[in-house]
C-alpha cells in the first residue's frame, strides 16, 4: 500500500453493544488482531496483564477495558474508542457497555454511530438485553444494524439455531423502526466469519463481518437534504487587512449551499443571499454536510450564535416553544416535572421545563408505562418540554443535528438528559 492509498478513505463509525459474556471484547480484539491493528507492545501488555490476573488465555477484553475499575471488575463501564484501518476504509469503534446500569454510556457511544453491531449468544438467542440494545440503536436512528450471532462454535454451527434466532429477532424488531438489519453467524473466539468467511458455515451465503463493514454504504444520511447551518461563532478580525470582514462560522448540518443562494435566518426570519463561502482563505463553490465553513452574506443583518441559516426556498424547520421528544435520562437525580433546566440544541441554548411525561418505555419489553411522575437514571420516555425561547428544529429522524438536544441541570452543570425530537402535528 502506498501513502497515496491512505489518503481519501471513507470513515465508518460503528458501535458495539453487548457485555463481556457475549464475547464483545473478544470480537473487537479479533477484528483488531486479524486486521493487524494490534501492535506488539499492546499485545505484550495485555499478555502480561492477563497473566498477572491468573487468566489462562490472553484476555482480549483488556485491550478495550482500559480503566482500573473496569479491569478490577471485568466489565465495561464507559465507552472506549478504538481505531483501525484496512486498505478499504477507516473505522472508529465506540465500544459500549451492555449492562443496564450503564445505558447512558451506551447512548453516548451510539449517538455518533453509522452502524451498530449487536451481539447475540447463539446458545441463548434473543434476550432482554438484545431487545434493549436494538431499541436504543433504533431510538438513536442508527441506519445499519448487524446482528452478530456469536459462539456458533458452541452450537455446532447449526443453521437451524441460526434461522430460529433470525426469525425471533425479525419478529421482535417489527415494532422498532430498524431500517437495515443484517445477520451474520460468527465465532469471535475462533474467527469464523469475522475477517474471513468460514468453511464451517457453508449454508451462510452472506459476507464475513469485516467485508460487510468495508462495503456497507456510508454517507451522511443522518442529516436531511435541506440546508441547515446552526451558527457557532461570528468571525470578525477587525484587522487592517480585513476591516469589514464578518463571517458566520458553523458546520453544514444538512443539504448544500452555494454562493448566490437565498438564505433565511431563523428564528428572526430575516433574509439575505450568500456572498461567499470561506474556508481558511479559500472561496468554495459549494459546501455540504458535515463541512465546517464560514459563510458571508450580502446584507448586514443581526445574526449571532444559536441562530440557524436555512435556504429560503426549501422546506423550513419548525420554530416552536413546545416540543415533544424521546429522552434518555442520564443522571442519578431524577427528572422532575416543572423544574427549570437548560436546553442546548445544536448551538442554541435556552431555559426549559418538562411539561409532561407522556409515557415511559420499558426497555426490556418495549411496553409503554403510563402515569409516570419522575424519570430515574437510564429511563427512556416520551416527554413534552416548554422552552423560554423558540427552538428551531427538525424531527430527529429527519436530521440528527437539528433534531437532538441535551438537558443540563443548572444546579450541577451536568448533562442529565439526551433528547430526540419528534414532530407531532
Amino acid at each position: 500500500m502506498t501513502k497515496r492509498g491512505y489518503l481519501d478513505m471513507e470513515l465508518l463509525r460503528f458501535s458495539t453493544a453487548g457485555s463481556v459474556d457475549d464475547g464483545k471484547s473478544t470480537l473487537i480484539g479479533r477484528l483488531l488482531y486479524d486486521s493487524k491493528s494490534i501492535f506488539e507492545d499492546q499485545l505484550e501488555a495485555v499478555e502480561a496483564a492477563s497473566k498477572s490476573r491468573g487468566n489462562e488465555e490472553v484476555n482480549l477484553a483488556l485491550l478495550t477495558d482500559g480503566l482500573r475499575a473496569e479491569r478490577e471488575q471485568g466489565i465495561t463501564i464507559d465507552v472506549a474508542y478504538r481505531y483501525f484501518a484496512t486498505p478499504k476504509r477507516k473505522f472508529i469503534i465506540a465500544d459500549t457497555p451492555g449492562h443496564i446500569q450503564y445505558t447512558r454510556n451506551m447512548v453516548t457511544g451510539a449517538s455518533t454511530a453509522d452502524l451498530s453491531i449487536i451481539l447475540v449468544d447463539a446458545r441463548h438467542g434473543v434476550l432482554e438485553q438484545t431487545v434493549r440494545h436494538s431499541y436504543i440503536s433504533s431510538l438513536l436512528g442508527i441506519p445499519h444494524i448487524v446482528v452478530a450471532i456469536n459462539k456458533m462454535d458452541l452450537v455446532d454451527f447449526s443453521q437451524e439455531v441460526y434461522d430460529k434466532i433470525v426469525e425471533d429477532y425479525r419478529k421482535m424488531s417489527e415494532t422498532l423502526h430498524i431500517k437495515n438489519v443484517v445477520f451474520i453467524p460468527i465465532s469471535a473466539k475462533d474467527g469464523d466469519n469475522v475477517v474471513n468467511k468460514s468453511e464451517r458455515t457453508p449454508w451462510y451465503k452472506g459476507k464475513a463481518l469485516l467485508d460487510y463493514l468495508e462495503t456497507v454504504p456510508v454517507g451522511h444520511k443522518t442529516v436531511s437534504d435541506f440546508f441547515r447551518f446552526p451558527v457557532q461563532y461570528v468571525i470578525r478580525p477587525i484587522s487592517e487587512k480585513f476591516p469589514d470582514y464578518r463571517g458566520y462560522a458553523g458546520r453544514v448540518s444538512g443539504g448544500i449551499i452555494r454562493p448566490g443562494d437565498r438564505v433565511r435566518v431563523l428564528p428572526s426570519g430575516l433574509e439575505s443571499t450568500v456572498k461567499s463561502i470561506d474556508f481558511a482563505g479559500e472561496s468554495l463553490d459549494e459546501a455540504y454536510a458535515p463541512e465546517s465553513v464560514t459563510i458571508r452574506l450580502n446584507d448586514e443583518i443581526d445574526i449571532s450564535r444559536g441562530d440557524t441559516l436555512v435556504k429560503a426556498d426549501e422546506k423550513q424547520p419548525h420554530v416552536e416553544q413546545d416540543v415533544t421528544l424521546d429522552v434518555c435520562w442520564l443522571n442519578q437525580t431524577p427528572a422532575q416535572i416543572r423544574k427549570k433546566y437548560i436546553i442546548r440544541q445544536a448551538t442554541f441554548e435556552t431555559q426549559g421545563m418538562i411539561r409532561s411525561i407522556n409515557f415511559r418505555r420499558n426497555i426490556n419489553t418495549l411496553e409503554k408505562e403510563q402515569n409516570v411522575s419522575e424519570l430515574a437514571m437510564n429511563d427512556i420516555a416520551e416527554i413534552t418540554i416548554h422552552t423560554a425561547q423558540s427552538l428551531v428544529f427538525d424531527a430527529y429522524d429527519e436530521n440528527k443535528v437539528t433534531g437532538s438536544l441535551i438537558i443540563i441541570d443548572p444546579d450541577t452543570n451536568e448533562t442529565v438528559g439526551a433528547g430526540m425530537i419528534k414532530y407531532v402535528e
Binding site: 501513502k3 491512505y6 489518503l7 481519501d8 471513507e10 470513515l11 501492535f39 506488539e40 507492545d41 478495550t64 482500559g66 480503566l67 482500573r68 475499575a69 479491569r71 472506549a80 474508542y81 478504538r82 481505531y83 484501518a85 477507516k90 447512558r104 454510556n105 447512548v107 453516548t108 449517538s111 456510508v218 454517507g219 451522511h220 457557532q232 468571525i235 470578525r236 478580525p237 484587522s239 487587512k241 480585513f242 470582514y245 462560522a249 458546520r251 443539504g255 448544500i256 481558511a280 482563505g281 455540504y288 458535515p290 463541512e291 465546517s292 450564535r305 437548560i342 442546548r344 440544541q345 448551538t347 440528527k400 443535528v401 437532538s404 441535551i406 443540563i408 452543570n413 448533562t415 439526551a418
Partner: protein, 301 residues
C-alpha cells in the same frame, strides 16, 4: 441531494474545527497546550484554519520541563511569531526552585510527573477555563475513554468513572468557578491520520521527526538521547545512530526510533509497516499498567 460523500481527513478536520469553534464560543479564557510535538502543531494549525482570517483567539501555553530539545524551542518561537500569538511558558524549573515540587533522582528521574503541578499552577495563575490539548484516543487505553470536553474539578482531577455523557456533537462546557475543562479536538485522529494530514497540508515539522545522526544509548530495549539530563548507568554505552523521534516530549522520556525517513512521505510508509505503537517508546507510560489513568486523574495532559 447530490451524492456527496466526504473522505476521512476532511471529516476529521471538519470535526476538529467544530470543536475548536465551540471552545471559542463557550469559554472566556481558553489556551492551547503546546508541547512542540506533532499533535499540538496540528491542533494549532487547525485553530488557524478555524478562525481565519481572524487570529487564533487563544494564547499558546508551553509547559517547559527545562529538558527540551533545542529544536522544539526554536520551532515553538518561530510558530508563535508567524501566527502573532501570545506565548506563555510554565517552568518546571521554577516549580522546583520555589519548592512546589521535588526533583526525582536516580537513573529513571524524569520531570514528566512534575509537569502536572506546573500545569495546574499556570492554569490557576492565568485563570484559564479551557486547556486545549492534542491528546488522541488511539494513543493509550485511558485516553481511549476521554471525552472531547473533559471536565476537571477544582483540584484539576479527572473522574473517569463518572464522566459527563457527551452526545452527538453537543458539548457541555458549563462549570463552576475554579473548575476547568480539557478539550481534545483531535480525539478521533490516529497517528496515521495526523501524518497524512501533515502530508496533505504540507505543514512544516520540527527536524527531530526526520532522521538524523545522534549519540544515543540503549535502555530497556529503546534508544534514548545521550544528553546530560539523563544519568546513564555505567553499562550503558553511547553509540551514534540514525534515528528520529516518533513522539516529542521531554528528552528523558522520548524514545528514539532507528529510521531512514527524510520526508513526511517516508514517515507515512514507516508507520504503515511498524508493529509498535508510538507510545511504545515512552518511558513514562511504562511505570505501571494504569500509569496514564493515574496521571490523568491527578491533572496530567
Amino acid at each position: 441531494m447530490d451524492n456527496k460523500t466526504i473522505q476521512h481527513l476532511k471529516e476529521l478536520e471538519s470535526e476538529s474545527i467544530y470543536v475548536l469553534r465551540e471552545v471559542a464560543a463557550q469559554f472566556e479564557r481558553p489556551v492551547i497546550l503546546f508541547s512542540g510535538g506533532k499533535d499540538s502543531i496540528v491542533c494549532t494549525y487547525l485553530a488557524y484554519k478555524a478562525f481565519y482570517p481572524a487570529k487564533i483567539p487563544f494564547p499558546l501555553l508551553h509547559i517547559d520541563t527545562g529538558h527540551n530539545f533545542q529544536e522544539t524551542l526554536d520551532y515553538r518561537d518561530a510558530l508563535v511569531k508567524k501566527l502573532g500569538l501570545e506565548l506563555i511558558v510554565g517552568s518546571v524549573q521554577e516549580s522546583i526552585d520555589t519548592g512546589r515540587v521535588k526533583e526525582e533522582t536516580g537513573y529513571y528521574a524524569s520531570r514528566n510527573k512534575l509537569q502536572i503541578t506546573t500545569l495546574l499552577d499556570t492554569i490557576d495563575k492565568y485563570k484559564f477555563d479551557a486547556a486545549i490539548g492534542g491528546a488522541r484516543r488511539d494513543e493509550e487505553k485511558a485516553r481511549a475513554k476521554e471525552r472531547f470536553f473533559s471536565h476537571r474539578d477544582e483540584f484539576g482531577q479527572w473522574n473517569p468513572k463518572n464522566q459527563r455523557p457527551e452526545l452527538w456533537n453537543i458539548f457541555n462546557g458549563r462549570k463552576n468557578m475554579g473548575e476547568h475543562f480539557r478539550v481534545f479536538p483531535i480525539s478521533n485522529w490516529t497517528e496515521m491520520d495526523v501524518w497524512q494530514y501533515i502530508y496533505q497540508e504540507n505543514i512544516p515539522m520540527p527536524s527531530l521527526y526526520f532522521t538524523h545522526e545522534r549519540e544515543v544509548f540503549q535502555r530497556d530495549g529503546q534508544w534514548l538521547a545521550a544528553l546530560p539530563v539523563i544519568k546513564r548507568k555505567p553499562t550503558e554505552q553511547v553509540v551514534k545512530k540514525l534515528v528520529r523521534c516518533r513522539t516529542i516530549g521531554d528528552i528523558t522520556c522520548t524514545g528514539l526510533t532507528e529510521s531512514k525517513a527524510t520526508t513526511v512521505a517516508d514517515i507515512i510508509d514507516e508507520i504503515a509497516s511498524t508493529r509498535v505503537t508510538e507510545r511504545g517508546g515512552r518511558a513514562d507510560d511504562k511505570r505501571s499498567e494504569t500509569a496514564m489513568e493515574d496521571r490523568k486523574k491527578a491533572g496530567y495532559f
